[in-house]
Structures are given as structure tokens and as C-alpha cells.
């Protein structure tokens, strides 16, 4: 998979760099690989018989993803501008909020191959020479309290963000991606946010946590009516557990954002994690929507 994506993504990156904006060019060029993959997956996962129509849901989700992407590019630009201007405090303040727009739609980015590692890899996720994106900048901002040497990383992050925005227009979204994406968002929280590993320098994990949950909830909201027709009890249970998790998260809100992860007591982390698992389990049953 890595190899398969490495080539088109590389081509795309260079094309966007040379073509300046290049949005239309990439948009028509890239989906081939994604479509091929998604097509293969659909064939084997969805019985051809009476597949319900999710066109509206998919359209609604694409609109949401596009809106998030728009704001993501804008907020990332403000962030990278602050980095390049050497305004350390401003850069730190803009870092976590900008990421939330990305975290809400991460399944989309993940479906786009190398974009996710380019934007969001942590130290050790990729070869040191390839490491770039938010966390690379995070490290210098918080570890060294500096913006020095980050200009190139800032530029690349912004161009990666723009590339994501371009690709989201045409990325192959289907109900299956939405259903699994919702669970993946919570799995993200479960594996790295709730452990404090994601934001190991800035400790802004709760921003990511909240955004992942919001992204999953959006998918649930879009599919809710369909799900209710298929399995009302399941739909109700998911709704209740979203509410329970939001309630558990509420005390950690601080102004527009969230408290530092370091302020959480072990018992509070455990409780958040358990509420998350309680939600993710029924959420993983949303596949029942897919005509089974």
C-alpha cells in the first residue's frame, strides 16, 4: 500500500508545487487509485442485492468534509504565518484549534494515502528524514520554545493542507467509508489521544479528542434516520452514549478550548477511556445500515 501511494502522491505534490494553485489538475488526476481501491472493497463487502441508497448521506458528508477542509486551510495558514513570522505565542495558541478541523475528518485524509502522514505523523511514525507536518513543528515550538528553522516545514504543511482541500472534492466517499470512519475516529482517540501520546510536546490532546468525537458524531447525525429505521434500539444507544461522553468531556473545557492533558488525573483519563469504549462498541455496529 505504501508503495502504491508513494508514486501518485509524489507526482501530485510536485504538480501542485509547479502549478501553483493547481486544484483542478489534481482533482481530476488523483481519484483513480482511490476509486480502484474503494471499488474492490465495495464488491467484496456489500452484497449486490438490495443495497440502500446513501447518495444523500454521502453528499451531506462531503459538504461537511469540504467545509471543515476550507476552515482547516484558513486556520493552518494563520498558524503557519505565525510560525514564519516568529511569533511563538501566537503560533502556540493557533496550533491546537487549527488541528481540530483536520481531526474531525481524518478518515478522509487517511483514505488519501500519504497525506495523513505528511500532515499528522508523530516522531517515529515515519523515517526521520521524511518527518514533517504539525507534530514536527509542535516539537520545536514547545521543546525548544522557538520558531527557528521551521519555515520550510510551515510552507509544506500549508501546501499539504491545500492538497487535502483539493482532493476532498473528488475523493471516493461511500457509506462504508463513513461507517468505518466513525469508528476509526474513536479508535484514534482510544489508541493515542486518551494516552496523551499524540500531543506529547504541547499536551493539547483533548482538542484532538473532542474533534475526533465531533467528527464521529457528525457521521452518526447524518446516518441517524437510516439507522433508526434499521435498528432503533442501536440508534438510541449510540445517541445516549455520545451524550454521556460529551458530558464526561465537558468539565475539561476551558474558554474556547480544553485544559492541558497534564491536568487530568489518572482516574479521569480512565473514565474518559471507558466512556469512549462504551460508545465505540455500538457505533461499530453501524455497518448494519449497509443492508445486512
Amino acid at each position: 500500500m505504501k508503495l502504491r501511494y508513494a508514486v501518485p502522491a509524489g507526482v501530485l505534490v510536485s504538480s501542485i508545487l509547479f502549478a501553483g494553485c493547481g486544484q483542478t489538475g489534481t482533482a481530476t488526476q488523483q481519484p483513480a487509485a482511490a476509486t480502484k481501491d474503494a471499488g474492490a472493497a465495495t464488491q467484496t463487502t456489500t452484497p449486490a442485492a438490495s443495497a440502500p441508497n446513501f447518495d444523500q448521506a454521502v453528499a451531506a458528508y462531503r459538504t461537511y468534509a469540504t467545509q471543515q477542509c476550507d476552515t482547516f486551510v484558513k486556520k493552518t495558514e494563520e498558524f503557519t504565518n505565525a510560525v514564519k513570522a516568529g511569533d511563538l505565542d501566537k503560533a502556540k495558541a493557533l496550533y491546537a484549534p487549527a488541528r481540530m478541523y483536520y481531526e474531525r475528518i481524518e478518515p478522509i485524509a487517511e483514505a488519501l494515502g500519504d497525506l495523513d502522514p505528511n500532515i499528522d505523523a508523530r516522531d517515529g511514525d515515519v523515517d526521520a528524514a521524511d518527518w514533517r507536518g504539525f507534530h514536527r513543528i509542535e516539537k520545536t515550538l514547545w521543546e525548544e520554545n522557538s520558531t527557528k528553522g521551521l519555515d520550510e516545514f510551515a510552507d509544506r504543511l500549508l501546501s499539504d493542507a491545500k492538497l487535502l482541500r483539493a482532493k476532498v472534492e473528488t475523493v471516493n466517499i461511500d457509506a462504508s467509508l463513513m461507517v468505518t470512519g466513525a469508528v476509526e475516529l474513536l479508535n484514534e482517540v482510544s489508541t493515542s489521544k486518551v494516552t496523551g501520546e499524540e500531543e506529547r510536546y504541547s499536551h493539547t490532546d483533548l482538542y484532538d479528542f473532542a474533534a475526533n468525537v465531533e467528527g464521529a458524531q457528525k457521521i452518526y447525525d447524518i446516518l441517524k434516520t437510516d439507522l433508526n429505521q434499521k435498528d432503533a434500539a442501536l440508534e438510541k444507544q449510540i445517541g445516549e452514549r455520545f451524550a454521556a461522553l460529551q458530558q464526561e468531556l465537558a468539565p475539561f473545557k476551558e474558554g474556547e478550548g480544553y485544559v492541558s492533558y497534564t491536568k487530568l488525573k489518572p482516574e479521569e483519563i480512565k473514565k474518559l477511556s471507558q466512556n469512549l469504549d462504551a460508545l465505540a462498541e455500538p457505533l461499530s455496529q453501524m455497518g448494519k445500515l449497509l443492508g445486512v
Binding site: 464488491q43 467484496t44 499524540e198 445486512v292
Partner: protein
């Protein structure tokens, strides 16, 4: 960023592809045997079918071979296994819960749960779901109906698929905290049912204590036992969370075909003085709570005491054999009472040496535990090993002590108080965990665990 996302995708697509390939292969190769297979499927259980599929899959992996040969091998295997499975199965339903007087299996996975719901109806639903899953798992069958659906997570986690029931038993009880205000059940709490008193020398650690619900899973295979506990925890998500767990082991039947008394990690036989579980009146007297003991819902149930007893392994390993034997009051190699030759020779606490000293030190474990012989409990302990004590680098190993009794205080507490004060063994052990559970009576077909309480 999800570190392994791409690898995962690759795995998934490979999986999908191989699924497709396999399906095609099966279509092509299995046609002649179709009738045989479908005729068969009406009478075989899910698990047997799965075994068949497993055998078929193996044949395909090995290059397709003759499907006929594979199938007949599958059928041979199946009929053998069915017979073996029956022998290998402990019925879940019955007058008493299984796992109490059932001869101890090789492994245990113990878990204490805390309920997170305040809704009694949800607790009842959980118990019903657990009942169904337990009956299914103890018969060696996959849980649920969604195990072949590519769009859903399988309803059974699958690691026990194709494995025998392995004499799995799952035993449920509720702790004193179950009867606090949350579910309006305070009035049904058995009189005097509460956490154990603090015994002399206890060094209890909160992380190994208490729980609203206790679940003892025992099986002759650790993977099968773990599978059962894991699925119960999964089913409970959103209603109850794990509070603490402990796995344990004994010698297996392979290691000791004779089935002699197991040894604990201090090297001594443990359980020689246990009451005879084949004697129904003895079990009635010592283990099964009678309806007349009150409350009525506990009739044919039992009270479980659980203690996580850490052994000071390093200290024990440098004590002399003489000291070790005086500590237990038995010979290490034979398990015989001191001064006697055979394990089951009668304990004679009055015996003295020519110098007038007690042959069995009065502070030895066996002397205190036996007392005047009037009070006994049914012990069902397992050894545990949980890696290292990070602080000291010493082994965190010992005994997951479990006992069942009709009355916790008249039996277990009475004995443990004597031991806690005087037992020579206290130099080598420390009690780190403690919990008690009121174990429901057995469940009848159509009922569910705890239905006498609800």
C-alpha cells in the same frame, strides 16, 4: 495520524482479495460435495461447521487437494470432536452454578466489574445477555449471528473458534456494593453480607479489592478462558467496566495425568484437606446456602471469598526445608502431615516428639487451618504470576485464593482470623487483594443469572 493505518488497509484489502479467491476456489472445488455438505449442515452445530470450514481452508491452502478427501477427514474429525466435546463440556444450566464444586480446571481468568449504569433495567439486560453468551461459550459455540458478515465486527471475538469447550465454567456473583442505593435492592442484601473485616497483617491495595460483580471463568485452556472473559467485558461496555482481573494456573492434566493434589508456588501440596465435593450432604452443609439461611434468592447459591495473596518468593527460596515444613505442617515431597508417610494420613495435632514438643507446630498453617476440624470451606485456588514488582524487581507471584462457603463469617472469617494472627506462613505471604461475592443459585433454561434476585 494512525501509525499503522496504511498497513492495516493493505491487510484489509488483501483479506478481501483472499476471501474472494477462496470463495471462488471453494465454488469451483466444492461442487461435487455440495449435497453432502448441505445435508450435513442441518445437523451439525455452528462450531462444527466452522471446524469443517477450517479443515477445508487448510486443504485449499495446501494446494487444493481432493476436496472429497478433505471433507471426509472433516467428518471424521467432527464426529470424534462431537463425542469429545460432550465429555469436555460442563453444562451451564443447573440447580447450582457450575465452577463451584466442579473439579478445578487448569486455568482461571477472574474479573471484578463495576457497574456504570444507575438503571436497574440495564443491569437486568446485562445479566440476560451474559447468560446467553455464557451458555453459548461454555458449549464451545461462537456467540451471536454476525460472524460471517464482512460489514460488521464479528459478534464473537473468535480466538476460541474451533477450540473445544475445554470444560469452561463461568460463575457469577455480586459484591456488597451491588446492594447500595443504586438499584433499589438494598432491602434484599443478605444479612451481614459485607466486605471482609481487616485482618491482622493485611496490606490491601485498592486496585485488587472489591467490585460490584465477580466473574470466575475456569477452563482447561487459558485462551478459551480468556476468550470468555473478554467477550463478557465486551458485552458489558457501557453498562459495566472491569475493575480488576487476575489470571491463574495450576498444573495441567498433561503434566499430572494422575490428578494428584496440586502444589502451590511455595512447592507444597495445596488442598489436601478440602471437603469431598462428591458428597452432596457435605456440600449442602458447607457450600450451598439454604433458602432458610435467607434471603430466599440465595438458596442453592454460595458465598465466594477472593484473596490475592502475594508470596514472598525470594525470602521463601532461602529458607531451610525444615523451616518450610514446619511452616506448613506437612512434608514437602509427600504432602503427608509431619511425622506421617502419606498425604492423606490422618492429621494428629496432639502427637508429640520424645522431647515432648508438638510434631506439628501449633502455629503451622495446617494446624491453624484445621483447628478442631469442625469448620471447613471449599477452596478453589490458583497460582498467579504477574511479572515483576516494579519497585523491588521481585516476582509478583502468589496465590489467587478462592473459597466457597455457605456462610462467609462463620466459615471463612472464622478460619482466616486465626491464620492472620498466628500462622507461621505470614512471614512469607501478604494479602494484597480482597473481595467477596454472593454467587447466585444456578440458572434454569430460559432463566438468567440473578433472576431469583430481580
Amino acid at each position: 495520524m494512525k501509525g499503522f493505518k496504511r498497513q492495516k488497509d493493505q491487510g484489509a484489502s488483501q483479506h478481501a482479495e483472499s476471501h474472494k479467491e477462496q470463495a471462488e476456489l471453494e465454488k469451483k472445488d466444492a461442487l461435487p460435495a455440495d449435497d453432502e455438505l448441505s445435508g450435513k449442515s442441518k445437523t451439525v452445530s455452528r462450531r462444527e461447521l466452522l471446524k469443517l470450514a477450517g479443515v477445508g481452508g487448510l486443504g485449499l491452502l495446501l494446494g487444493g487437494g481432493g476436496v472429497g478427501a478433505v471433507l471426509s477427514a472433516g467428518q471424521r474429525l467432527e464426529s470424534m470432536m462431537t463425542e469429545a466435546d460432550t465429555l469436555d463440556m460442563v453444562p451451564f444450566y443447573g440447580k447450582h452454578q457450575a465452577g463451584i464444586v466442579t473439579p478445578a480446571q487448569d486455568f482461571i481468568c477472574f474479573a471484578a466489574f463495576d457497574l456504570t449504569t444507575s438503571d436497574k433495567a440495564q443491569v437486568r439486560s446485562l445479566f440476560k445477555a451474559w447468560t446467553e453468551a455464557s451458555a453459548t461459550m461454555t458449549s464451545g459455540t461462537l456467540i451471536g449471528t454476525d460472524n460471517e458478515n464482512l460489514n460488521l465486527p464479528p459478534s464473537d471475538t473468535g480466538e476460541a473458534a474451533g477450540l473445544s469447550p475445554s470444560r469452561t465454567t463461568i460463575t457469577f456473583g455480586v459484591g456488597p456494593s451491588f446492594f447500595d442505593g443504586r438499584y433499589g435492592l438494598a432491602g434484599l442484601k443478605p444479612a451481614g453480607f459485607r466486605e471482609l473485616p481487616r485482618f491482622q497483617g493485611d496490606a490491601l491495595d485498592e486496585q485488587w479489592c472489591g467490585g460490584d460483580i465477580g466473574v470466575q471463568v475456569c477452563a482447561n485452556d487459558l485462551q478459551v478462558a480468556f476468550h470468555a472473559l473478554r467477550n463478557l467485558a465486551r458485552i458489558a461496555r457501557g453498562t459495566a467496566v472491569l475493575r480488576w482481573t487476575q489470571e491463574g494456573f495450576q498444573r495441567t492434566a498433561q503434566a499430572d495425568p494422575a490428578g494428584s493434589t496440586p502444589r502451590n508456588l511455595l512447592g507444597f501440596k495445596d488442598g489436601t484437606g478440602n471437603p469431598d465435593t462428591s458428597k452432596a450432604d457435605e456440600m449442602k452443609r458447607l457450600v450451598w446456602t439454604q433458602a432458610s439461611d435467607g434471603p430466599a434468592w440465595m438458596g442453592n447459591g454460595s458465598y465466594m471469598a477472593v484473596r490475592r495473596v502475594r508470596m514472598r518468593i525470594e525470602v521463601w527460596d532461602r529458607s531451610t526445608l525444615g523451616d518450610q515444613e514446619d511452616t506448613f505442617g506437612r512434608h514437602r515431597s509427600s504432602g503427608a502431615p509431619l511425622g506421617k508417610a502419606k498425604e492423606f494420613d490422618k492429621l494428629d495435632l496432639a502427637a508429640t516428639s520424645p522431647e515432648g514438643k508438638s510434631v506439628t507446630p501449633p502455629t503451622s498453617h495446617v494446624a491453624l487451618a484445621h483447628g478442631d476440624g469442625s469448620m471447613n470451606i471449599l477452596r478453589r485456588s490458583y497460582s498467579y504470576s504477574s511479572g515483576l514488582d516494579k519497585q523491588t524487581g521481585q516476582l509478583d507471584a502468589g496465590l489467587l485464593f478462592i473459597s466457597y462457603q455457605r456462610d462467609l463469617f462463620k466459615q471463612f472469617v472464622h478460619i482466616q482470623e486465626k491464620l492472620a494472627r498466628n500462622d507461621k506462613l505470614n512471614e512469607y505471604i501478604v494479602h494484597k487483594g480482597s473481595a467477596v461475592f454472593a454467587c447466585f443459585p444456578g440458572v434454569s433454561q430460559g432463566g438468567y443469572i440473578g433472576d431469583t434476585l430481580f
